[in-house]
Amino acid sequence: MTITPSTAPATEAPAPAVEPIIRMDDISISFPGVKALDSVSFRMFPGEVHSLMGENGAGKSTLIKALTGVYSIDSGTMTLAGRPLVIGSPAQAQAAGISTVYQEVNLLPNLSVAENIMLGREPRRLGGIDWRAMRKRAAELLARLNLDIDPASLLSAHSLAVQQLVAIARATDVDAKVLILDEPTSSLDADEVSELFRVIRGLKSDGVAILFVSHFLDQVYEISDRLTVLRNGALVGEYLTREILRIELVHKMIGKELATLESLESKTRQAAIEGETVIEVPYLEAVGLGRKGSIEPTDLAIHEGEVVGLAGLLGSGRTEIARLITGADRADSGEVLVRGAKKRLRTPRVALRDRIAYSSEDRKREGIVEDLSVRDNIVLALQADRGWFRRISRKRQDELANSYISALGIRPANPDALVRNLSGGNQQKVLLARWLAVAPRLLVLDEPTRGIDVGAKAEIQKLVSNLADEGMAVVFISAELEEVLRLSHRIAVMRDRRKVADLPNEDVTVGQIMGLIASGAEA
C-alpha cells in the first residue's frame, strides 16, 4: 500500500461555459443549539452528475432538505436557471422541477407500477381516473429509462433495484430539471448498480442535473463529474472528480490537512507495544463472517486486554461486522470462535451469555429505554440475564446505580431521573454502565463518543483504556481516526463492506489509515 502524495493540491473546480441550473449562495440553517449549515454555497450545472460528500453531521441532508423545501433557510439566496427561487414546501420544489428519490424507496408496494408513477398526478376524464392514459404515460416513462416491465404489475413484485428505478421514473415525470438521488445504491448489488448508472447516464444526456449522494467512493468516482465536500455544516470546496485524488477527498471529508496529520503522535503507542504479550487464543475470533448485502466474509480476532479499533467511513462495514460478532444481526456465512470454541451467536442474549456486550451507535433507538429511570436502565441487561424471576434486590440495584453514577460521573446524580431527560453524554454513560454491570469480557463500542461534549468524550476514552488494562477485550468504532489511533492496540480498516487492512498500531499515522480508507483502483 503506497500513498500517492498529491503533487499539486486539488484546485477549486472551474465553471463550464453554461449557466448553473441551481445556485445556492451563503445558505445558513440553524436548529436549537446547532448550526446545521453555515453560509454554504452550492451550484449544479445541467447535464452533470454532482456528488455531495461528507461524513455524518456534515450537513448533506440539511442542504438537500433546503433545496427540496423541507426546511426553510434562515439566510442566503437560491436561484433556479438564473431566476430567484423561493421554496416553501416539497410540492413547490417539485413544481419548480426539483425531484427527489430518497434512500428508502417511499412508494406504495400494494399499488401497480403505473399507479405509483402517476400517484397524485393521475390523468382525469369525466371526474374519474383515465386508466388507459395513465398506463400509457407510465409506459412512456419506463421506456425512457429502458425499463421493460408491465406498468400494470404490482410494485411489490419487483426487486428493490427496479422499485428504485420506478421511483426515478416517477421523479422524472414532472419534467425534472434537477434530480436528487439520496443514497440510491445502499441496498443494491453490483449488477443493479450498473443498471442504475446506465439510467443516470441517460438522464444526464437529456440535460438533467443529478445530485448524487453515496458513501461508496468507487461509485462516486465512477458516475460523478463534479463534487462538493461539506464538513460540520460548512463548505470545504467544490472539485472536478477527475482532478481530486481519493486520499485528498477523504482528507477533505474528515478534516485535517495531510501535513498536520503526519505529525500527530499516538499517545498510547507505548501501551501498544507492551500489548504484544497477548494470550495465544483470542477471546473472539471471526472466520469468514459475513452477511449478504451487509458485509463480505471477514476475519477478525480480538484478544483479551486489547483494544481493536475499527476505522472506515460510514457504511464501510465497521458497524456491520460489530453487529455480527455480538449477535445483533445473524451471519449467513462463516463462524465465530469464543476462546477457541465454536459458537452460534444467534441473538444478543446468546452473545451476552458469552460475556459479549454491544453498545449500538444509535443511542436513542437501540440504546436507552427513555421512559425508565437511570437505575432501571443500568440494571436492565444484568436483570435480563438473570431472568425475570430472580430480581436484583432494590438495595443491590441502588448500590450498582450509585457506584456507576459516581464512577462515570453521570449527571444528574439521581438514580430516579428518567433517562429521556439526560444529555446525550450522560445517556451514553448510562449505557456504558449497563454494559459494564454485566462484567463483559468483550465490549463492542460503536461510536460511543458521537455527539457528546468534549469532557464526557475524554472520560469515556480514559475508561476504555482502563478497561483494556484490566484485561477486557474492546472493539472501538469511531469516525474520528485520531480517537481510534489514540486508543487502539490494533486497527482494522474497513472499506466497501470488507476489511482491507489489519495492522498493529505501531508508527501508524492518520494519513496512512486515510490512505487505506480511500484506496481504490488508483492505490
Partner: protein, 346 residues
Amino acid sequence: MSTPTLTTLRDLPRARLFWPIVTLAALLLLNFAVSPGFFAIRFQNGHLFGSLIDILRNGAPTLLVALGMTVVIATRGIDLSVGAVVAISGALACTIIADSPTPDSLGTVLSAVAVALVFSLVLGAWNGLLVAVFGIQPIIATLILMTAGRGIAMLITEGQIITISSAPYKVIGAGYWFGLPASIVIAGAMFAIAALVTRKTALGLLIESVGINPVASRLAGVRSRGIIWVVYVFSGLCAAIAGLMISSNVTAADANSAGLYIEMDAILAVVIGGTSLAGGRYSLTGTLIGAFVIQTLTTTVYTVGIAPSITLVFKALVVIAVCLLQSPALQAKLRSRRVAAKGVLA
C-alpha cells in the same frame, strides 16, 4: 414505579392518578346527592350489604379482565379475545357441572374450575404464540380468538344456555367469604398477586422495557418473546376467572352474551387508569380505579334514573371527559392559558 413526589398542591392535577380519582369521587358524590343512603353499609347475617359493596362486586369481572389487559397493553399489545374467553370458561365449567351426577359436590366444582382455568391458559398461549412467535399484529391475532372463541363456546354448550344448580359453584359469583362477596375477595387477591409478581420480581421492569423500546431491550438480552407470551397467558387466565364469576352469578352459561363487549370496558378501564395504549409504563392501581369508574358509571345510570335510551350516551360523555382531562395536549393548552391570564392580570 415511583411517581415523582408532589411538592405543592399545584402539581396535584398533573399527578398520574389525579383525574381518575377525581372522576370516581365525583360520580360517587353524585350518587350520594341523589340517594342519601348511598354510602351506607349494613352488616346483616354476617354479610356486608350496600351500594358500594354492589359496585365492588359487579365491577369484579371487569377489574379482572382489565388487569390482564393492562400488562398486555404495556407490551404494546392488545387482547380482544377476553370476551370470548369469558364465554368459553363459563361454558366449560357449567357443562361439566351440568353433566356431572353430583353437581353439588365440591370435588365436581373444583375439577370444573380447574379444567376451565387450564383451558384458558392454552387459549392465552395461543394468542402469545401468534403475537410473539409469528409476529402477527396483536389486534389481528386476538381478533381470531375473539371471533372463533364464541364458536368454541357454542360447541361446548351445543348451542344451548346451560343452567345449573350447584351450591359450591354459586359461591364464586354470588357467595360470601369473610363477610365480603367472594368475587371481591377473588378479584382483590388477583390484583394483589399481579402487583406482587410484577413488582417483587423483575417482570414489571422487563414488561415496561419491552413496551417502551423493543429494539434496545433485545440488544440488552431481554427475552421479549417469553415476556409477551406470559402477558397473554395471564390475560387469558384473568378472563377465565371473570367468566367463572359471571356464569356463577347467573347460574347459567350463555355462549352468546356472556362477557359481550367486556374487552371494550377493560380497555377503557386501562386507558382511564392512565396506561398509554402505546405501551410502556403501566399502572395496576390506575386500572383498579378505572374499572371502578366504569362500574360506578353503570350504577349511576340507575340511581340517577337516566333513561335507558340515553345510557350509552351518558357513559360516553364521562369517558370523553376523563380522556380529555388526561390528554397532554389539552393540559398544556390549559396551562398556557392560565399563565397568559395571569400575565394579563399582572
